[in-house]
Symmetry: D3
Subunit: 131 residues, 6 copies
């Protein structure tokens, strides 16, 4: 195993997604443990950890891509939360999604705004609950 | 005509694309003049002019989306040049495209890197030519 | 605010989607009120209100596009209902979706037929309930 | 061979694409003659020949789908010409493409308008040449 | 009706999907009975029945395509089960999906792995239940 | 550098693409040398080198995915040639592409067949030239 990439990837994954990222890795571990490792090593260890762009800018790029793909609302949800974790405001995320109406069409943008609305509501509810 | 949106859109279009943007608008003007106006008014007048995100961040989002779509190398080329015009470095753009391998796949990223390479070479040739 | 476009857009939205359209606009209003306004102004105020094509023909084009995208069953549902509202028969809509198997593949067409089936069943149930 | 479907398909193909359709079939015939036959039998013999929608409405649906796919400018070109052959005006086709900006994004619509512009120019040149 | 293609298609459909395929055909039969027939005749009667590639290789190609489309988890589920029915092992299917991360991106591959996990769990539960 | 993955990746890349693969890597090396390395390490070193599926089966999956994406004819061309290099016959490749009409639509399949036709013609010309 390539332990440098894995450890760097785990640290980067955690800095973006916190403990939620571990759940996805565990769910994949049952069926494709080496793929769970690849996700930590390549996207998080090789790409996100490169610097040059700020973590905030990298989440902007990822959210733009996921809105454009349109088929992955769960990953979009994780990266909206990740964007908030690394310094994007709610309004920043709304702006990225709105801009995607121009490139990916209005349905893709509307669906993504409704995902963002759910993420923001859950955060507000956790705040009210004093978590 | 909605002259505020149009004027704001023209100014924003010009700040990103310079005079090259005018060529596309003229090419469309022959076949769909109202669509050329819509492009200036909606994407550039309503969306890009909103602030909140910086022009640099908006180009990062647009480049990410165009790499993900995969079917619009001419628009990608225009926004790579636009990104350079509003403060992205060449390396920033290469990083956004590389990151898209994770979400849109390696072929989409490779094709986009080859588009970026062409844009960068043309800039270097214009520099050498003393333009 | 650009009140002509907004009023024209609201009238066009209502002529296609009836009161259901208002619900979506309200859901978006919580998170991105200006985007809700953009949807009324641009797609409905600028595009659908242009004439030239009939409302029925415009719904045929929209349904074809949403089946092809494949990622927006809720919007597809709204435009299937919208198509019925502006003069498409159930069979017309089934024909458009069937034709999309040729361009977007059979899974996209099958999924869209199952959405249409749900819309048609709900209409029949409302009829039976005497609404 | 299923000669009814094939003959009905050939007649339908010819009514939409004229003699140009034969060229594509011949090009495919070198590599996949049975696939050339399938195209005549299924899309043209089974789907386009069904009636219910008018030929004009079917071309509107197909153009909408091809603009949305974004990756098939040659097929788009053939169906723009086909639309003109079965009763769409140039303006009808421009309207369908403009509407696709809402669903498939502006780059897909701009690229398609430039394809339509080329088709219309070639028609005008043939007219001037007295063909 | 074209009874040879239909009978060949039904036999091929059954050899891949068993009795589950009949449910989908019945669900479509309520809304578009001729489309249900087209599915049996064209994909199953004309394409899957051609030989040359083995049934196992054809399921590998179909699973790769459905992972890449990203918008059809129900069809993906049916063809994962179909792949197991015609000689793919669970690990073969996991490998095809993992490879798709390279071409369609990691979110498409992760989502597909979670669909495969569900299919495999249901099979294990049926085995435990002694079915 | 992770030399095991790189060496394994180079060997796998070469076994599929021969010396042509080196040209792409060199073209990318000018603009994104680390991305050229990532391509060798992740798709070729981590994925294609895993075994379980045969090289022939992996090319079937990749060709299916590239036909479905529709936006990468150059990569499709490379993997059609790669498929021939690892044991697919011309007819196998034609069959995979034909099957994709069912999932990705006829235009995607037609375009891919025309790419395959070009690859096959070039091979025949090289044979005639005695290369």
């Amino acid at each position: 195993m390539d332990s440098d990439r894995f450890q760097r990837g785990q640290a980067t994954l955690c800095s973006i997604h916190g403990h939620i990222g571990e759940g996805v890795m565990k769910a994949l571990g049952d069926i494709a443990p080496e793929f769970a490792r690849f996700i930590i090593e390549f996207p998080y260890g090789d790409i996100y950890a490169r610097g040059i762009l700020s973590p905030r800018e990298r989440q902007i790029a990822t959210i733009a891509s996921l809105v454009t793909l349109g088929h992955s609302p769960k990953e979009l949800r994780a990266h909206i939360q990740g964007g908030l974790n690394v310094g994007c405001s709610k309004q920043d995320i709304v702006e990225v999604i709105m801009q995607m109406a121009v490139y990916a069409g209005f349905p893709a943008a509307v669906n993504a705004l409704l995902v963002a609305k759910e993420v923001f509501q859950e955060i507000d509810e956790r705040l009210v609950a004093g978590e």
